[in-house]
């Protein structure tokens, strides 16, 4: 019995199956290596940015994550608060095919966050594992179907056991899974890194059926985001069904503490090109680190069934260089803790209308109730 493990090498079936198992194991081991060459080059080099001027500022931001780039501070200082507010914001034009789905594409969207790029590499390796296993099973099936069809093999064997073989096809898959588990656990720990203390905090709140984005560290103003009515997105150069009136505007290149919650039922904040999805649950505050490597427009959609217009509450994240983002925050009437409040109210700055552009358009939900202004008593 001590050599039972190797008994399978004495039969032809055993040897063939063992050979196949070996090929399978090798293919799985080699697959990720082969895959590495298929992966697109690093995204920064891969395509042109949405706005080349933004690149410089982001590059600066990227070198010092967590801290605001010095040049940006200088630029702001020279223009002055009110002027920065008024000059600030026109919604960025999305780059076709970037941060959005593309028809007929077979793979995940291109990734723009550090964890997203790591996850994408792991994803490619996993796809190879899936392909190799499926092809091996298909090949084995086709082989036995041809080789052991009744005409070719009229007398069936009576083999019903092969301990070695059974041990092999238990152990080898277990080893493959263990090999998968290591990068998987590593990815998880990266995704769960805590945002640094000075990270920009943004709270996404799901409502039936629109999103609200509030900035608790910047005066807690809230931007209400409704889907653009049919045709309007196309007029603005955005993908139909994905464009919104007011976007979630964030700084690029710095860590963001994204919090998600909901006001009524469960929603989910999801942006595929950032490998980011977190449920917005009423009564809970889910928090996750979000890093966007470069300025751009990134589209997502609500990803938890939340009632009738579940399919009509898209998410648009617009990542701006830090200086422009600060200008945008001021334009919304927001403040910064490291700055004195502006001397005069920024009346020149265009404050965004928190309601949908078209009140009864699809996706135009009720805006949150404003604090009631006392009406003069009629008596």
């Amino acid at each position: 019995m001590s050599t039972a493990i190797f008994d399978f090498t004495r039969t032809r079936i055993g040897r063939m199956l063992a050979a196949v198992a070996l090929v399978l194991a090798l293919a799985i081991a080699v697959g990720p290596l082969a895959a590495r060459q298929v992966v697109a080059p690093a995204p920064v080099a891969a395509q042109t940015g949405p706005a080349s001027a933004n690149e410089v500022a982001t590059a600066a931001a990227r070198t010092t994550p967590g801290a605001r780039p010095a040049q940006a501070e200088l630029a702001e200082g020279s223009t002055g608060a009110a002027a920065a507010g008024s000059a600030a914001y026109t919604p960025m034009k999305p780059t076709p095919g970037i941060g959005m789905p593309v028809d007929g594409r077979l793979d995940v969207q291109q990734q723009f966050s550090p964890t997203g790029r790591y996850a994408q590499k792991f994803h490619v390796a996993l796809v190879w594992v899936m392909v190799v296993i499926s092809v091996v099973v298909l090949a084995l099936l086709l082989f036995v179907m041809i080789r052991f069809r009744a005409k070719a093999n009229p007398v069936p064997s009576r083999t019903t056991h092969n301990v070695g073989l059974e041990v092999a096809w238990t152990i080898i898959p277990a080893l493959v899974l263990a090999a998968i588990a290591f990068p998987s656990i590593s990815l998880l720990s990266q995704q769960y890194r805590s945002p640094p203390k000075d990270a920009v905090t943004i709270k996404a709140t799901g409502y039936q059926w629109y999103w609200g984005y509030s900035y608790p560290d910047n005066g807690d103003f809230e931007v209400i985001s409704n889907m653009l009515p049919e045709g309007e997105a196309t007029r603005r150069g955005e993908p139909e069904h994905l464009g919104v009136d007011n976007r979630m505007v964030v700084p690029a290149g710095v860590p963001i503490r994204l919090q998600a919650t909901a006001a009524d039922v469960i929603h989910a904040f999801a942006v595929p090109s950032l490998w980011f999805k977190i449920d917005a649950v009423p009564g809970r505050l889910n928090e996750r680190l979000l890093e966007i490597e470069r300025p751009g427009v990134y589209y997502g959609q609500c990803s938890e069934l939340c009632g009738a217009r579940h399919g009509y509450m898209p998410i648009v994240v617009e990542a701006l260089p830090m200086a422009q983002w600060r200008a945008w925050v001021r334009a919304q009437g927001g403040t910064f803790k490291d700055e004195a409040a502006p001397a005069a109210a920024p009346s020149v700055a265009p404050t965004q209308d928190p309601e949908s552009a078209v009140p009864n358009a699809p996706g135009a939900g009720a805006p949150p109730v404003a604090p009631a202004t006392p009406t003069p008593a009629a008596s």
Binding site: M100, D103, V108, Q109, H241, A268, R284, L305, Y312
Partner: protein, 572 residues
């Protein structure tokens, strides 16, 4: 060491000897008050086919709507159901359709067909028992399932919030299913699950008792056919999982109607608690739907390879392992709810472990065919199709098991593609394999092999065309449960709708085949499948007598059979 247990040497005289027990009651008593496992099995199969037609037609409406961006047909369906079409009511209709499709296919098609239908028919026959242990309980199991289906159908005609019917998804997540949906529709839908669940629990008790107590003399647990093993494990999963669902949805009912706040954070409850309870049931539920299919495929592959199942004990205990581990992986359905990182790591690792016993089964089926003398009769082509397509669904399952990867595909069409590969192909292919395998035994008529093969190939092309492109849609980010989408998802959605039409055509072939067999099919012999079919049901007539095995068959162990063949006394 007689563990090649799929082969029995039953005394032939026992099978056929009792045609005098063939007295049948009148029509009403026979079909409405039935206590006969074969009649109840037939009722379950007819019910499952009926529900399958409804659930399949609903998916047809869904595929038609999704063929192109925009809302095309939903308003028409709202009006047809007696509602008033407007934007929100139309979208609500979509949610009603996805909810009904999911609940019908899970609770009223796959489960009744596998457990109620084939389980009832063949567990007693395969273990040499005259009937189920509790025949009357068997009857009420069936009628509770029918009542559940009726309640679900009623729910579509009453208000459910934004429109008529329950638009909460088959998972019925709170608070959408509590404060998020006013009106009685959701209560009807929940009550439907109570009824179907109660029916299934009673059925599970019946199967466990039958299998433990009513095996013919000599049939030890390690000699039971693998289909019986699969039903035993399934019954235990039902018994342990369904009460948790019953508790969870009862809490939904009280949250909705009696002011409790189990799932309302405003009252100290937690919406995530519902998800934990639901998936503690829901994950074993997916094994409940596929394990009987594993059993069926094992019988069929062995029969048509003319070989005993390879690694019988490994096969049996792989199912037990899948059942046990299936209870500790539930939160992989909840990777994005905000789990703790350690929790997510645990569920990632635990989920991947299930691939090991599943792999054992796939390899053992192939090893059973290896060295066999394979005949490609209709059940065999469906079984081989199941092995391959289930593998494809299985590897995407390993992919999804990774909690970090899941962030991009969670609640997208990738998940839809994955679970349709394991269920709509894994479970449904094994159902069709089982149907063609046992139809001659049940009806006494042979179906057309030509039509069965044609059905297979058209269905195979159709379902792959529906579901394979969904992987790509999901990777590109298309969320589930969307009636409308950005134009960038058009191409693959269109392809999937074309696939649906092909699949629907194949179902026409299936029904023609069944009609042909019933009306003009050749008379089926006791054993139409040759020497590979060694289980006890093939020793009986086709169809079997109304009551069988009034004198129990005796299962000899292999040594006794060997001794008898060589002229030595088998009993000392």
């Amino acid at each position: 060491m007689a563990t090649t247990a799929d082969t029995f040497q039953a005394h032939q005289e026992h099978g056929r000897a009792h045609h005098d027990a063939d007295h049948k009651p009148g029509f009403f008593a026979r079909w409405f008050m039935s206590t006969n496992h074969k009649d109840i099995g037939t009722l379950y199969l007819i019910f499952a086919i009926t529900a399958g037609i409804v659930g399949g037609a609903i998916s047809g409406i869904m595929r038609a709507e999704l063929a192109a961006p925009g809302i095309q047909y939903l308003g028409w369906w709202v009006q047809l159901m007696g509602g008033e079409a407007n934007f929100d009511a139309n979208l609500h209709m979509w949610n009603v359709l996805i909810t009904a499709h999911g609940l019908i296919m899970v609770f009223f098609m796959v489960m009744p067909a596998m457990i109620g239908g084939f389980g009832n028919w063949f567990v007693p026959l395969m273990i040499g028992a005259p009937d189920m242990a509790f025949p009357r309980m068997n009857n009420i199991s069936f009628w509770l399932t029918v009542a559940g289906f009726t309640s679900l159908m009623l729910s579509t005609f009453v208000p459910g919030g934004t429109g008529q019917g329950a638009g909460i998804g088959w998972t019925a997540y709170a608070p959408l299913s509590t404060s998020g949906s006013t009106g009685p529709a959701v209560d009807f839908a929940i009550f439907s699950l109570h009824l179907a669940g109660a029916g299934s629990i009673l059925g599970a008790i019946n199967f466990i008792t039958t299998i433990f107590n009513m095996r013919a003399p000599g049939m030890t647990l390690h000699k039971m056919p693998l289909f019986v093993w699969s039903m035993l494990v399934t019954a235990f999963l039902l018994l342990l999982a369904l009460p948790v669902l019953a508790a969870a949805i009862t809490m939904l009912i009280t949250d909705r109607n009696f002011g409790t706040t189990f799932f309302d954070a405003g009252g100290g409850g937690d919406p995530i608690l519902y998800q934990h309870l639901f998936w503690f049931f829901g994950h074993p539920e997916v094994y409940i739907m596929i394990l009987p299919g594993f059993g069926m495929v094992s019988q069929i592959v062995a029969t048509f390879s003319r070989k005993p199942v390879f690694g019988y004990l490994g096969m049996a205990y792989a199912m037990v392992a899948i059942g046990v581990v299936g209870f500790v992986v539930w939160a992989h359905h909840m990777y994005t709810v905000g789990l703790d990182v350690n929790t997510k790591m645990y569920f990632t690792a635990a989920t991947m472990v299930i691939a090991v016993p599943t792999g054992v089964k796939i390899f053992s089926w192939i090893a059973t065919m290896w060295g066999g003398s394979i005949e490609f009769k209709s059940p065999m082509v469906w079984a081989i199709g199941m092995i391959f397509l289930f593998t494809v669904g299985g590897v995407t399952g390993v992919y999804l098991a990774n909690g970090g990867i899941d962030d991009v595909v969670h609640d997208t069409y990738f998940v839809v593609a994955h679970f349709h590969y394991v269920l709509s192909m894994g479970a449904v292919f094994s159902l069709f394999a089982a149907f063609y395998y046992w139809f001659p035994k049940m009806s006494g008529r042979m179906h057309s092999e030509l039509l069965s093969h044609l059905h297979f190939w058209v269905f195979f092309v159709g379902v792959n065309l529906i579901f394979f492109p969904m992987h790509f849609l999901g990777l590109q980010g298309m969320p589930r449960r969307y009636p409308d989408y950005t134009p960038a998802y058009t191409e693959f959605n269109h392809l999937a709708t074309v696939g649906y039409m092909i699949m629907a055509a194949s179902m026409a072939i299936f029904f023609v085949n069944v009609l042909y067999a019933l009306l003009a099919g050749k008379k089926a012999p006791d054993n139409p499948w040759g020497p590979g079919a060694t289980t006890l049901e093939w020793t009986l007539s086709s169809p079997p007598p109304y009551h069988q095995f009034e004198t129990l068959p005796v299962i000899e162990d292999n040594k006794a059979a060997h001794d008898r063949e060589h002229g030595r006394p088998s009993h000392a």
